[in-house]
Symmetry: C2
Subunit: 190 residues, 2 copies
DNA sequence: CGCGCGATTGAGTAATTTCAAATCTAGTGG
DNA sequence: CCACTAGATTTGAAATTACTCAATCGCGCG
């Protein structure tokens, strides 16, 4: 199961079996049930989560009680409240499970330890974060320059798997429109 | 002048004089004039730029010819088309100077060389990228959950220096509204 | 002084939201 | 197998918000 993690790392840097075992020993595997919280607003965020299976959402609740999806998480992705995790501060967002999930939890201390001990791993995390930044930048451009329909189409093209697992109202929240507006877009496919 | 860079690095990891000299030798210092392009859509993006002085904007031109500001750059910040830079592909955005600028240019090859040779530097870039990540995430949340006035106030609070250098129409473009809308917000201060 | 750029204002239009109600769907228990 | 329910989606109509386009204003610089 943790092969998925190894494959992801090895796409960037190769590891011996013993090296990977050592890295893996810094993760804790945990199962979460549908609707269970993984990160909760106002609490500490000790872990970053690598997703072995399942589907999650991270979202911000604004002063009017409206939820805004910051990120979805699926197999092979990472998810946490990065602001709180990196700064070791209090979460401002929630993350919960849309499905039952199996996660590999990496504490901040273990992440820093691995990065300090193994240059390779620091390299891996740098590259991974670079990719994450590119994705975030694309999202910003999409939010700024596309209308609702275009944003929807772009997301559908990028992550078709998402649409199998996630209700449309969450997609709407991710795109920054109401579910009613999304419904009125007259989506062709499906 | 390049002290600014050293200070930024040393906020994360300490360097000897010789180490810093070595690092610095991988940068090329260049001056750019107001309105000059630093990155141009459709071209290669060999460099990431550390800003010694001046002010820049990176922006995306959509199919209607409308410009959307992705990022501003000021003293002590970094700027480039990260998607094109990291993937060594063709720029999809433009970056040009709002003022005369003095930049330290770091080629992708030199960045990777430094990261491979000096674990410290890889550590620095990982941490820097983490921070960038947090900033991008905040921006997304702001775009999703704040109205124009709130986004404006938040930006003003975060980067008051910007408002000295940048015309309001660019601020509007950064916030994702038209200049007319921004003008109608009835900004209190100033 | 006058040009040019940026900022503001007005009026009509387009897009999105809100609120309410109706419809559809998947899963549960009898 | 069917009825029931909760959640998700759709539809309608009115209200709001932002946009477009055009005109005007203000100011600094040559």
């Amino acid at each position: 199961m943790s092969d998925i993690l190894r494959q992801q790392i090895e796409r960037i840097t190769s590891l011996s079996d013993t090296e990977f075992e050592y890295v893996l020993s810094h993760f804790v595997s945990k199962k979460f049930k549908k609707h269970q919280f993984v990160v909760q607003e106002g609490e500490n965020v000790p872990n970053d989560f690598f997703i072995l299976s399942g589907c999650l959402k991270s979202y911000f609740t604004d002063k009017n009680g409206k939820e805004h999806i910051l990120q979805f998480g699926m197999k092979d992705w990472w998810i946490t409240d990065y602001e709180a995790y990196y700064n070791q501060s209090i979460a401002t967002i929630n993350i919960d499970c849309i499905e039952n999930c199996e996660l590999l939890c990496l504490s901040f201390q273990n992440r820093e330890k691995l990065c300090a001990e193994m240059h390779k791993i620091e390299h891996f995390f740098r590259k991974k974060t670079n990719k994450h930044n590119v994705a975030l930048q694309r999202r910003i451009l999409s939010l700024l320059s596309n209308n609702a329909k275009e944003k929807y189409d772009q997301l559908l093209q990028l992550y078709p798997q998402l649409f199998q697992k996630v209700p449309k109202q969450l997609i709407a929240s991710y795109l920054g429109v109401t579910r009613e507006t999304l419904s009125r877009l007259n989506i062709s496919s499906k």
